[in-house]
Symmetry: C2
Amino acid sequence: MNILIIGAAGMLGTKLTQRLLRDGTLGGTTIDTLTLADAVPPAAPEGAIAVTADLSAPGTAARLIERRPDVIFHLAAIVSGEAEADVEKGYRINLDGTRALFDAIRQVHGYVPRVVFASSIAVVGAPLPFPIPDDFHTTPLTSYGTQKAICELLLADYSRHGFLDGIGIRLPTICIRPGAPNKAASGFFSGILREPLIGKPAILPVPDTIRHWHTSPRSAVGFLLRAATMDLAPLGARRNLSMPGLSATVADQIEALRRVAGDAAAALIERRPDPVITRMCEGWAAGFEATRARALGFTAEDSFDAIIRAHIEDELT
Amino acid sequence: MNILIIGAAGMLGTKLTQRLLRDGTLGGTTIDTLTLADAVPPAAPEGAIAVTADLSAPGTAARLIERRPDVIFHLAAIVSGEAEADVEKGYRINLDGTRALFDAIRQVHGYVPRVVFASSIAVVGAPLPFPIPDDFHTTPLTSYGTQKAICELLLADYSRHGFLDGIGIRLPTICIRPGAPNKAASGFFSGILREPLIGKPAILPVPDTIRHWHTSPRSAVGFLLRAATMDLAPLGARRNLSMPGLSATVADQIEALRRVAGDAAAALIERRPDPVITRMCEGWAAGFEATRARALGFTAEDSFDAIIRAHIEDELT
């Protein structure tokens, strides 16, 4: 089996790569070739080929699929803040890049690879019901979310035409995101757990009552693997699925931290309210029904205790 | 006031042009310039400027907005069957053309025209609830519907950024469509009324029980005018509205024809069942709630008697 990961240098791409190299197989089939592509040079671990590639540059997509990968994980995107600040770049990378990939595939007669597209809960925006049903309309409040929603539509249409065999998965916020603190407005959801778990302080800019939609990196990789190997016939023309996750308040997160790591860890969280971040959070999804995805066998953690323990196992031991 | 109609040579563009020329004003303001653009040379009635323009060709969009129209009606599209058969052309005209228009507007600093985009009920596809709520997801089953859904997303995002002041209106099937019978699969909805009203036979390829979502050309023009002049602040970031219409079965249509034009007219309808057309119809929208649009003052006929009488007044007298 020949696998291509686009956006392989990101957090999720790195985790997926590690998992595929460890397993050596996907869906019971031996992995012969694993190609890692990214706009920033991806690390090239033993057993993988690394390619630096800007998907939106002319000819890049066709070159990336020259070896006809059976499965393509398309995880590449510029993030929300950058897509909002530089509208042209956002559309070029997040929309035109994806369309270039889909068109390159379409133009190869008889080549119909499985394409797993990483979409996002940013395709919806306030006012939102809770939980959000699977048939809720896409009402993004960012250009990033708009671009993801557009790519979902392209993926479904190209799959319907038989140009590719696509599935889009709307990932919850990944928590606990490993690594150093980043500047994302949502970063504190991970920070208030990740930092105290290694004895460091963390800042909480929102009230305890903020509810959000989470899944662990481990579950997210599980979604990608399932999406890559499952029978897509039951999806019909509706190729985009809201993934399961855990709907939890910040208070739920802190209580779980206290249970798993004790009062001393929880005491490292400093409350420093930020009205701007709070307002942003209030516009985000608090949780999805994810009925279709659950019925199709996608699973996620059902408690923050489990999410924290997964982080400890995967990152701290 | 300076008005631009793109797609002016089509049925709706022609009706809109006639209405604007007759009124001489829009929203109480005198119309100084009315420019009619279309890929096929539009007729140039007294008082309007006609321009032949392919919106998807480089530079065309910038040229069309050179005189900075205050209101732009964007009605141009290739139809469903053609967009399905020629995927590249469909995306080029229906998606890239629209995006070129929006980008040309974005690139003019301080220019924020009202853009009225003609969307379609084709943005949804079976299985569908009845009636379809305003917050139902877009699940198109054609490339045409996909392109309309994508343009809705672009319109909302560009409006949110303040690049333009857009509103997308999802038009029901226009019935009674004037003119000669065409080859559209949905053509019979109009044909079974239009032809008998002038003493000609018509073919009905589906069962009487098929339910569909209709509005008259007159109401559709009313939607466009309202969309061009209303305050859009109440829409917030959700700039796309399902228009009101009349949900009716074919039996409802025939009974109305009988009431308005008599048994002899109804007897001109020949039942010739076509399983392919029937199956297509079963996948189409049977009706929308259109709650938001109605609350915002958009109105349509509430009976097929009224639709038939509007046709007689507008086309046959």
